[in-house]
């Protein structure tokens, strides 16, 4: 790690680094002289923040895990108009949260360079939707840049800052999972010197106040800038011809799809020209007109929406070009999910008429291995206790409103305590609606980070509107699912700093929640008592189930060998299967009819040994 950190901020001739694109982006931010960087963690953007949290201080950058994306973008914007280069990054749906200020920032423009990174998630490896954020570039009328690999991720980011500063506009820097989470060789570049360490804000009341009278003029200026940007796109090194064929077929591609295209061309040895687009709003119109004129058949290959295709077909029509264009609108390519070399080859074969071998269908029947809560995860104990309490109180029609985080996995068998989950903070927001429209008991599950992000306004709404619900705040002291980033609820120390923790229970009490309880989820009895009490009283209750994330604890202990693990005393085991069927820890399984705990997987939490999980007291500390 020490060597990695040093390499990331070193300005001398470096050895080639093997970086994830997200790490390369962090290096790009250092090279571009970024002074303020902010984020709310979200996969697939998280590693940019993980990296910057290590190296920011060493490069003279101030870095912050903000409370949410809206605050993050506003913070970065203020830095930019105070003369410091700034960067804000988030996952695609995070930009929805930040979209209100984002739209206005396009109107006002920026001063020092400002880049807004959105990491989209085609195929939804870790997201609720595969929303195509390229549309945000159109919506806001801002330039957009899309890299395809780690080297480009770094190089293009530096170019994005220059572009932002030249046109005084925020630049949308869009990656996808397969780009952000691709590792490859990166040659570092020079670090830009001379960026001011302190910003100074110079007022201009016409520039940054979006009152209608100001915005009326700002809109006209924005459209003027967009026209100027078209010329810039045409000469940009980010848009270029990669290879030339004989003029029969040409492909226009960008982002991760470009990689698959190039791999297919080399696999099948195809005669084809390729125009790669990296500066994708506005499009390089002259370059596209020439490319279409030079090739009889032009194939547009992009993931998700036909974003490029609509624009390119418009360009072709306006310029009366007679080449044939293929894409999604005529059904050759899918509008859903990421592309692979196999899917691209399949679509291309239909257009070009070469033979591809099909990928075989899965012939084996194998048990699924869906994502599970980790061994030792405090959420498992909470879900176990809540389910039991609901059963004890016979609240059979209880509605479980869940939220975004590891605890979303409470959806799965055997807990099945997630009936809804749509967006950050929606557990409490939707609980408001269920409380208004039904007579059913509502339990909202929300994590600490999500509570700070957007759980507080709906809780205020519930207090003020006298809506009854049980809010379970699953406080594991971290933003766990994205890789254990810190949040406002705990002490986090970037080198030399200690930040004051914000208390969840104090927030709840201060806004008027009378029934606030704090429990340790590892103590099933205590949690059961708290939940049954809350279910009995028909009021607004908040229970903070507080216990550190198991992975965070393991990391803190930096253990290479476990100290305590548990085992099943077969003489005592009554084979009731409660631990297997209802507690469902990945360390517990059945072998030869007996229950077994895998000592390599057991995290030593000991919850399964409690009589509420093992009434036979057969689970014991392994000697």
């Amino acid at each position: 790690m020490v060597k990695f950190d040093a390499n990331m901020v070193d300005n001398s001739e470096n050895e080639v680094l093997f970086l994830l694109s997200n790490e390369a982006i962090a290096r790009g931010a250092v090279e571009a002289g970024v002074r303020v960087a902010t984020t709310y963690p979200g996969t697939p953007s998280s590693e940019v923040g993980d990296t910057l949290s290590h190296i920011a201080g060493k490069s003279g950058m101030k870095f912050q895990f903000s409370i949410n994306e809206k605050v993050a973008i506003e913070t970065a914007f203020a830095a930019s108009i105070s003369g410091q280069r700034s960067m804000v990054f988030m996952k695609h749906v995070g930009l929805n949260v930040a979209s209100d200020p984002f739209m206005s920032i396009a109107y006002t423009g920026v001063r020092a360079g400002m880049v807004v990174m959105s990491a989209d998630d085609p195929s939804m490896y870790s997201s609720q939707s595969e929303q195509d954020n390229r549309h945000y570039a159109d919506l806001a009328h801002v330039p957009m840049i899309e890299p395809s690999n780690p080297q480009e991720a770094k190089d293009f980011l530096v170019l994005a800052f220059d572009l932002s500063e030249k046109f005084k506009l925020p630049v949308l820097f869009r990656t996808t999972t397969r780009v952000s989470h691709m590792r490859g060789a990166v040659t570092p570049g020079k670090i830009r010197e001379g960026q001011p360490d302190t910003g100074v804000f110079i007022r201009d009341i016409h520039e940054f106040v979006c009152l209608p009278s100001n915005s009326y003029t700002l809109k006209e200026k924005l459209i003027e800038k967009e026209h100027e940007l078209k010329k810039e796109s045409d000469i940009s090194p980010m848009n270029r011809i990669i290879r030339k064929g004989t003029g029969e077929y040409g492909i226009i591609a960008s982002g991760a799809a470009y990689n698959s295209v190039m791999d297919v061309i080399s696999e099948y040895d195809l005669d084809i020209s390729v125009l790669k687009l990296g500066f994708t709003n506005p499009l390089p119109e002259s370059a596209i007109v020439k490319f279409i004129s030079d090739n009889k058949k032009v194939i547009i290959i992009e993931e998700l929406d036909p974003y490029l295709e609509y624009k390119i077909r418009t360009i072709a029509q306006m310029n009366k070009l007679d080449s044939t264009i293929f894409g999604k609108l005529d059904g050759y390519f899918s509008e859903s999910h990421e592309f692979t070399p196999d899917t691209v080859a399949h679509s291309l074969s239909r257009i070009m008429g070469f033979a591809v071998q099909d990928v075989p269908e899965n012939k084996l029947v194998l048990p699924a291995r869906p994502p599970v809560l980790c061994p030792g995860c405090p959420h498992r104990a909470t879900y176990y206790a809540v389910k039991r309490a609901v059963k004890m109180m016979n609240k059979t029609d209880t509605i479980y409103a869940s939220d975004i985080g590891c605890y979303s996995l409470g959806l799965y068998d055997p807990y099945e305590e997630a009936d809804t989950m749509i967006s950050m903070g929606s557990s409490i927001g939707m609980a408001n609606g269920f409380a208004m429209s039904t007579k059913q008991k509502v339990i909202a599950f929300i994590g600490d980070s999500t509570f700070f992000h957007s759980g507080i306004p709906p809780l205020i709404n519930a207090v003020h509107n006298k809506l009854n619900m049980l809010v379970m705040v699953l406080d594991n002291g971290t933003t766990a699912m994205t890789g254990q980033q810190p949040n406002a609820g705990e002490n986090f120390s970037p080198p030399g700093d200690e930040l004051p923790p914000v208390s969840i229970e104090n927030i709840a009490r201060s806004i008027g929640v009378a029934d606030v309880q704090i429990v340790d989820p590892y103590d099933i009895k205590e949690t059961l008592k708290a939940v049954t009490k809350a279910l009995r009283e028909n009021t607004l209750s908040v229970i903070v189930a507080r216990r550190e994330c198991a992975i965070l604890r393991d990391k803190a202990m930096q253990k290479t060998h476990r100290v305590i693990t548990y085992t099943v005393n077969q003489d005592k085991c009554g084979k009731c299967m409660n631990c297997v069927e209802n507690f469902a820890c990945p360390a517990i399984s059945i072998e030869g009819g007996n229950i077994k705990i895998d000592s390599n997987i057991c995290d030593g939490c000991g919850v399964c040994a409690e009589p509420y999980v093992c009434p036979f007291k057969a689970i014991e500390v392994a000697q």
Binding site: V16, F18, L20, P44, Y125, S126, S148, N149, T177, R178, H181, M182, R183, G184, A185, A256, N259, S260, M262, D263, E267, T340, P341, D342, V359, P360, K363, L364, L366, P367, A368, R369, P370, P371, V372, L373, C374, P375, C406, L409, D413, P414, M481, G483, I551, T560, H561, M577, V580, E581, A584, P586, I588, S589, I590, E591, G592, D598, N600, I601
Partner: protein
């Protein structure tokens, strides 16, 4: 050079991403081009994880399904899951250590018998089975099972990466006791594979 495509599969927490990174960094040290996919799913530990490493003339981190040269299976069910979708004559090294999925335990069922399953898959001729967890324990920690697997591949002699560069990559990543354990794990993995090859 022809692209050498590797898929490493197993369960979150087994050190699969680290194994992919070690092989890749070793390839970089030898001056080879390499790209690697690193998908983080929803769970940190306990879910299926796949990592692809492509050494040579590759643009993207996703290999065509028929073009794998090597499958490193860290868990039997996950190995079979990958093998049944790739249709390739890839060489396969499989860690025999079973990790029972929750979906099996919940049905009061036991780990399925995977013996012979691979024979139902066209193209798959031979699977080298190894007790990487046990060998890792001998080296000093079961967590070094991933390095045992890398050692096994090295002695198979098909990887375009040599022992020296793997050792350099281990030196970059680990220090002190963990370095010693991993160096030993690599050696033991190499020996285990040699014994297996000799007995065939």
């Amino acid at each position: 050079m022809k692209t050498f495509n590797i898929i490493i599969t197993g369960v979150g927490g087994q050190g699969i991403i680290t194994a992919g990174t070690l092989i890749s960094e070793a390839a970089i040290k030898m001056g080879l081009n390499v790209v690697m996919s690193e998908i983080h799913g929803l769970s940190q530990r306990g879910g299926s994880v796949n990592v692809e490493v492509r050494i040579g003339n590759a643009y993207g981190p996703i290999s065509p399904r028929r073009k794998f040269d090597l499958v490193l299976g860290f868990e039997p069910i996950e190995t079979m899951r990958i093998l049944s979708t790739i249709n390739s004559d890839a060489r396969v090294i499989m860690n025999k250590e079973k990790i029972t999925p929750i979906s099996v335990s919940l049905k009061d069922a036991e780990y399925p018998d995977v013996n012979g399953m691979a024979l139902l898959i066209p193209g798959i001729k031979k699977i080298y089975e190894i007790d990487a967890g046990d060998i890792g324990n001998q080296a000093g920690s079961f967590r070094s099972a991933n390095t045992v697997m890398i050692g096994a591949v090295l002695s198979l002699g098909i990887l375009p990466v040599d022992e020296k560069s793997i050792i350099e990559a281990l030196n970059d990543r680990f220090s002190g006791k963990m370095l010693d354990i991993n160096l030993k794990a690599m050696k033991l993995g190499m020996e285990a594979m040699k014994k297996m090859d000799a007995s065939l």
